[in-house]
């Protein structure tokens, strides 16, 4: 394709060079024939290339445009940048960039021929020459054809004004055949020259030099090189090379660094590192440093000579101020300066003002929020302040009037009209919403004011009231009903009308509305029916007001009978009371009440009611009541027996001597009861009630007895105290038991016994099955676990095996701060840590010679010493560093060593120096 370019160029050039180009062409053909297939790599389609050519038309500047053509070639080749697979040096194409070389295009024909000949020295030139001669005619034909096509193309282009590519469809294939990337030249040898026999050897190159000055020497060297020639391998990829380099470097540096290892190890293992070398730190003050200054460089000397010049010194001494004369300034300068400053000031001032203004500008959102706030505040104020409300109303009214006058929001604007003209349905959602909103606003603005409506409505209502007042009650009601109905219907109708547009017109909204409406209708109908019914009844009964409040059912029953109602009211009460206790108990209670009632005979009705409350009391107490009933029935010997039962607690047993004592009061009590019982059964009942309310345990018995037979328990408490007295008198007799008790108490205090699981009455007892099961398993398990835990804890106590010792396990919080919370870092074992701190380190507990070594810090260093980097020295890696001190800087010999360890270290240092 370079060739085609060439051709064009040649044609345009029209003249002496055309011949040469023809020759070149023939050569290319030949090479094509042989090596056409070998060409690889992408190439621009011819059409495109041509386009490129058109875009950069060459200046046909006669003969001298050779270099430009080459340049264009270069441009074309730029497209193939990536062909650089083979380095340019090797492909030998690089030199085509050389302008000077390419000047050969101007050279006359014969010269060039010569050149070609010299290129293909090794015999291939014959063929070429032949081909050149033979193929001349055909080539010219082809060229003519192409020329024609080009002409044609140009013509078409000129006519249509379309790019030439449009007309090149079929020509592509034809041009495919001819392709040689580069014009053949000395620098672009043909493929056969590159690969085959036609290789240029060193000898060839040497030949022209034969007989030259240093030829012999040169040849010798060449032959030498040839003799021990070696194949050069391609260099490794860069990354691999670098990797290898790094590896080698690493090995090297590793070797280099490992020699430091023993040294570093020694320093690390040393308990103390010394940097105690005595170094003169130098001057301490700036003055001292400055006084030592001596001028060294030329400059410094000059300065010094000036500064310390005697004359100047003297002059300065005499009058230093005179040395500096006042600088004169012109009036103009001063004026201009002032003006400049004034201008700057004014500018600054303006800028400041502008900035202030800008700063005051609030954002849109701020204004929006502000507006909102204002509105809110206004509404709030309106609620609070009637004055403001009035004002607001005025404003509103004004707005309303305005709105009514201008109809600003009634789709009268240009925009709205346009939209309506286009049709609302074709608009998008946003616009529709906007329109709806506008309408809404209009509606809002034009709505009648509250106050006015109030007036009107109140008028209407008053009218109605008036009407009603004229009518009888039920008529009023019916009127109301009718009105309500009407209203609801109206509302429904209205609602039907509304949703033509906007969101409400959406199908699901409509559906929803419909549903609602239906429901409302249904309700209304029901209500109507009810009202009608009630209206009918109203005619019978006067009390219509009651009916309004409650439901129809209740009302139906209500007015009829009052007594059964009261009965039913109280009935659930009793039932509830009974429900609380068990069924059997209830029966018993009833029996009880019977028992209580029969002998009494003439019990009041209230008493009866109270008796039912016996149900509250639990079974045990019922026995009590029964017995009381017995007591009441036949007071006599039985009473004592019963009381004895009551009294038979743990405390009753030791009461033998005073057996008769409790009898008296009990009988007395019973006697009293005989007297009182008839009158005060009710009051008797009150006591157990209270007791049962307090608790349901057996203690109630005692309490109850307390209530009734007040004397007895007091006496019974005296005895334990006596017992205690005796025990106190014989204190120390039973110390062991006491101690055991104490211990148990303390154990319980420190490891509390788990609470016994208790069933809350009524819980988990809904059915018989549940009752049989008893405790839920998880509760039992938990309890057992807790018990086990406690036992384990008790076993773990220090005094578990010491019967006569209690060791408190309470944690003393103040002691906690004396203990470490956890193991300090490097330690992993508690024992090791505790052993490591067993030795005291203070001077009171250690001989003076050991204290220094025991308490020496990790680094010993004088302040102000510069720590130099570590220096290499030979260290025996197997030698144990014994507590000695080392460091980059060793303890100076002047340093007095305190410990043996240090001494050894010094010795070592000396040894190292010797080495």
């Amino acid at each position: 394709m370079a060739e085609t370019k060439d051709r064009k160029r040649d044609r345009r050039r029209s003249g002496p060079s055309s011949n040469r180009s023809k020759q070149r062409k023939t050569m290319n053909h030949e090479t094509d024939g042989r090596r056409g297939r070998k060409r690889t790599g992408p190439r621009l389609p011819n059409a495109l290339r041509r386009g490129l050519d058109l875009l950069n038309p060459r200046k046909d500047g006669g003969d001298s445009d050779g270099d430009e053509s080459i340049n264009s070639d270069v441009a074309a080749n730029d497209v193939y940048e990536y062909e650089e697979e083979v380095p340019q040096e090797e492909s030998r194409k690089n030199r085509r960039f050389d302008r000077v070389e390419n000047l050969e295009y101007h050279l006359p024909d014969h010269f060039e021929d010569e050149d070609v000949a010299s290129d293909d020295d090794d015999g291939s030139d014959d063929d070429e020459v032949r081909g050149e001669k033979g193929g001349n005619g055909s080539d010219e034909d082809g060229e003519e054809e192409i020329e024609d096509e080009a002409n044609h193309l140009r013509m078409l282009q000129g006519i249509t004004g379309l790019p030439s590519e449009a007309f090149q469809g079929k020509k592509k294939r034809k041009l495919d055949v001819v392709s040689e990337a580069y014009p053949e030249s000395e620098y672009n040898p043909t493929q056969d020259v590159l690969e085959g026999e036609g290789r240029i050897t060193v000898q060839d190159l040497l030949e022209p030099l034969q007989g030259g000055a240093a030829f012999g020497e040169l040849r010798k060297r060449v032959s030498q090189i040839e003799k021990n020639s070696m194949t050069m391998h391609a260099p490794l990829p860069k990354s691999d090379r670098e990797k290898l380099e790094r590896k080698v470097a690493y090995e090297h540096s590793k070797k280099d660094i490992t020699k430091w290892e023993p040294l570093v190890k020694r320093n690390r293992e040393a308990p103390t590192v010394f940097f105690n070398e005595d170094i003169n730190v130098g001057y301490s003050t700036v003055g001292a440093i400055a006084s030592e200054f001596q001028p060294r460089t030329e400059f410094e000397k000059k300065i010094a000579s000036v500064v310390y010049d005697d004359k100047i010194m003297e002059a300065h001494k005499n009058d230093g101020a005179k040395l500096l004369e006042l600088n004169l300034t012109s009036v103009e300068d001063e004026r201009s300066r002032r003006e400049r400053i004034a201008k700057m000031r004014s500018l600054l001032f303006r800028h400041e003002i502008k900035q202030k203004h800008i700063k005051k500008i609030k954002s849109k959102t701020y204004h929006r929020l502000m507006k909102k706030d204002k509105l809110k505040a206004a509404s709030a104020q309106m609620e609070m302040d009637p004055e403001a409300a009035k004002e607001q109303a005025m404003k509103q009214e004004f707005k309303r009037a305005e709105e009514r006058l201008t109809l600003k929001h009634k789709n009268s604007s240009k925009w709205a009209k346009r939209i309506l003209k286009r049709g609302l349905n074709t608009q998008d959602e946003g616009t529709r919403v906007a329109i709806a909103e506008q309408l809404n606003q209009h509606a809002l603005l034009t709505r009648k004011m509250n106050s006015m409506r109030n007036n009107s409505s109140s008028d209407a209502s008053s009218d109605e009231d008036d009407d009603q007042s004229g009518l009888s009650d039920h008529e009023v009601a019916s009127n109301l009903l009718a009105k309500a109905k009407e209203k609801t219907l109206k509302v429904l109708d209205e609602e039907e009308q509304v949703p033509d547009s906007g969101v409400l017109s959406l199908p699901f909204m409509i559906r929803g509305l419909k549903k609602k409406k239906d429901a409302a209708m249904e309700e209304a109908r029901l209500a109507l029916e009810e009202y009608e019914l009630s209206a009918k009844q109203m005619e019978d009964v006067h009390e219509a007001e009651n009916g309004k409040a409650s439901s129809s059912k209740g009302r139906m029953v209500f007015g009829a009978v009052k007594q059964p109602a009261s009965k039913s009211n109280s009935a659930p009460k009793t039932q509830r009371v009974v429900d609380d206790s068990d069924y059997e108990e209830e029966v018993e209670a009833e029996g009880n009440s019977d028992v209580g009632m029969h002998p009494v005979g003439t019990l009041q009705n209230e008493g009866h009611g109270d008796m039912t409350l016996h149900g509250l009391v639990k079974g045990d107490e019922h026995h009590v009541f029964q017995s009381f009933g017995d007591i009441v029935k036949d007071p006599g010997p039985k009473t004592t027996y019963d009381v004895a039962i009551f009294a038979s607690g743990s405390w009753r047993k030791p009461l033998k001597n005073s057996k008769e004592k409790p009898e008296e009061p009990s009988t007395k009590g019973s006697k009293q009861k005989q007297g009182i019982s008839v009158v005060r059964v009710g009051s008797l009942d009150k006591d157990p009630k209270g007791a049962s309310e307090d608790s349901g345990t057996d203690d109630d018995e005692v309490e109850m007895i307390d209530g009734i037979l007040s004397n007895e328990p007091r006496e019974s408490y005296e005895l334990p105290s006596q017992d205690e007295l005796v025990r106190q008198a014989f204190a120390g007799d039973d110390v062991e038991e006491d101690f055991e008790k104490d211990k148990l108490e303390i154990l319980n205090e420190e490891n509390p016994e788990p609470e016994k699981p208790v069933l809350v009455p009524g819980w988990g007892q809904w059915t018989n099955v549940q009752q049989k099961k008893g405790m839920p398993s998880w509760i039992v398990k938990e309890h057992e676990d807790a018990k086990k835990k406690r036992e384990e804890a008790l076993k773990k106590r220090k005094d578990a095996n010491l019967k006569n010792v209690i060791i408190s396990e309470k944690i003393d919080k103040k002691v906690e701060k004396l203990l470490t919370t956890g193991l300090p870092f490097p330690f992993t074992s508690k024992d090791v840590f505790e052993q490591s701190i067993r030795m005291p380190l203070g001077p009171d507990f250690n001989p003076a010679t050991a204290i220094g070594a025991l308490n020496r810090p990790e680094v010993v260093k004088k302040s102000g010493i510069i720590i130099k980097p570590i220096k290499f020295e030979e260290v025996d890696p197997h030698e144990r560093a014994d507590g000695g001190a080392m460091g980059a800087q060793k303890a100076a010999s002047s340093q007095k060593s305190k410990s043996g360890g240090k001494k050894t270290n010094k010795k070592k240092e000396v040894a190292a120096n010797k080495r």
């Binding site: 110390v735 006569n804 010792v805 193991l823 507990f845 001989p847 025991l854």
Partner: protein, 532 residues
């Protein structure tokens, strides 16, 4: 310090020497060295090895220095043939001891002012004596001079020195008072009430008292602060003794129990039943591990306080008990003093010496004089002093107690000891536990609920943490949400890990238990399957 005072016979430079030296070194090493094989950390191992070496060096130096620092050797009575040491009378001893020791045998008869209690300063140079009828006296025992004497005209129940001879406290009828050496009343400690017995804790500067109501008071004498007071709730007692090793106060009660208290613990540290009858006397060995108690049921018991076990039970009454510095035990009942001890086997106490006062003398208090082989006896007719060979420590450390202290030394020591004053919480049964790792307590482990709340708090923290505003779409809502989620997971992680660990541990434990509970393999097939 105390260890350095311990006496060892002077080393002769003969074959036995290395063995003796080893023993001494062992003493100064204060326990076994660290077993370095256990230590895994190489660096730590190295460090510890260096440390141990230093300790070893220090110990050996100290052991070598002992022969100069502890030159004197304590002597004791040895019986020849059928002679018994307890048959040797004071008169017999008098002939054999030097003049300076002879002056330690005396009787001071003060008939009217009734049973005397005595107290020595820690150096043993000064003695305070208090007669029940209000007679207070301060004596220099070296020169046997009476420094000050006064009559308070009140019942005096007890007397004790404070940190040095400059101050002493006397428990009088209603309150204890503090006097200085010149007999000027400095303080009246009304809070203590009617004190029966007082003890001064030297290292903590605490005055501990027990009053008629059985209340135990601790008062810091440096600041005047009442550190604590406890109601023992065990009735009135006048048996009280401080354990010199750890500062724990022991009380003997009527129920036969001994309780041990410290000022920062509301309940007794130890409560042990020692006797069937009321405890009449109590004493501690200076090393703190041995306690002697006497009960009214005619028993004297020696207890090992490390095991809380009886070491030895002796028969006899004792109204007072006292250990000497070398571990001799003085008991007294009525007008008779008996010294128990055994120099060949220090763990087995037997009669060593005895001394009986004139009939009718009722001994109130016996007290060994420190650094002297002397026993002071306070009795109803004054006070006496007898020689008990081998009772006192022959070598004194001037940093601890100096019987020949000058005024300047005393002042310096006062400052020093104030600087070294220990806070009251350092009183504990085993003071060597200070600085060790806190034992794992149950409370430290947070409950499940606490842990959950903690986790929730952590999650909430992460959730509430403000996100940085980032550009280039890195603070997209999705990214932010992801990041938050990640943070939550990260916050949760440690809790969940812990929980998992715990659960695993529990599961393992359970498995272990189950395995233990299982029947032997051969019988397993007969086991009834549990109905579940």
């Amino acid at each position: 310090m105390s260890e350095e005072q311990k006496d060892t016979p002077p080393t002769d430079t003969q074959p036995g020497m290395s063995k003796e030296l080893d023993a001494k070194v062992k003493k100064y090493l204060r326990g076994d060295g660290i077993n370095l094989e256990v230590v895994k950390d190489k660096k730590l191992k190295g460090q510890l090895a260096v440390r141990e070496e230093l300790y070893g060096k220090s110990a050996s130096v100290a052991a070598n220095a002992e022969k100069w620092l502890l030159p004197s050797e304590g002597g004791y009575l040895e019986a020849e043939g059928i002679e018994k040491t307890w048959k040797i009378r004071q008169e017999a001893i008098t002939q054999d001891v030097g003049i300076s020791s002879q002056k330690n045998q005396f009787d001071i008869v003060l008939q009217d002012l009734g049973p005397y209690t005595i107290d020595f300063t820690p150096s043993g140079r000064y003695m305070a004596a208090a007669g029940r009828k209000g007679h207070l006296a301060l004596l220099d025992m070296n020169s046997l001079n009476l420094i000050r004497e006064m009559q308070v005209r009140e019942t005096v129940r007890d007397i004790c020195f404070l940190h040095n001879e400059m101050f002493f406290a006397a428990a009088q009828k209603k309150y204890p008072y503090i006097y200085n050496r010149d007999g000027i009343e400095l303080h009246c400690l009304k809070e203590h009430g009617a004190v029966l017995k007082m003890q001064f804790l030297r290292n903590h500067f605490l005055l501990s008292t027990i009053n008629k109501l059985g209340q135990l008071h601790y008062q810091d004498v440096t600041t005047g602060l009442m550190v604590n007071n406890y109601r023992t709730g065990m009735g009135r007692t006048d048996v009280m003794q401080v354990n010199p090793y750890n500062g724990v106060v022991a009380l003997g009660h009527s129920g036969g129990t001994v309780t041990m208290w410290k000022p920062t613990h509301t309940s007794p540290l130890i409560k042990m039943l020692c006797h069937h009858g009321p405890v009449s006397a109590l004493a501690f060995h200076p090393n703190g591990h041995l306690m002697a108690t006497a009960g009214t049921e005619r028993r004297i018991k020696l207890w090992d306080l490390r095991k809380f076990d009886v070491v030895q039970t002796l028969h006899g009454h004792a109204s007072t008990l006292e250990f000497s510095q070398k571990g001799l035990l003085a008991t007294s009942s009525g007008s008779r003093v008996e010294i128990l001890g055994n120099f060949s086997n220090p763990n087995k106490y037997k009669r060593y010496m005895s001394h009986s006062m004139a009939k009718g003398y009722r001994i109130k208090k016996v007290l060994f004089r420190p650094y002297e082989d002397v026993l002071g006896i306070g009795h109803s007719m004054g006070w006496s002093s007898i020689i008990i060979p081998g009772s006192g420590e022959p070598n004194f450390d001037t940093w601890v107690a100096n019987p020949f202290e000058t005024a300047k030394q005393r002042r310096e020591k006062e400052v020093r000891s104030l600087l070294d004053k220990l806070p009251p919480e350092t009183i504990m049964l085993n003071p060597s536990k200070i600085g060790t790792v806190r034992p794992f307590s149950k409370k430290e482990k947070p409950s499940k609920k606490e842990r959950e709340s903690e986790m929730e708090a952590a999650i909430a923290d992460v959730k509430d943490a403000p996100m940085k505003k980032k550009t280039k779409g890195r603070s997209k809502p999705s990214k932010v949400a992801n990041k938050k989620q990640e943070g939550i997971v990260r916050a949760k992680r440690p809790f969940l890990d812990e929980q998992m660990k715990e659960e695993e541990a529990i599961a393992k434990k359970k498995q272990k238990l189950a395995e233990e509970a299982e029947l032997p393999k051969s019988l397993q097939r007969f086991a009834r399957k549990q109905a579940t």
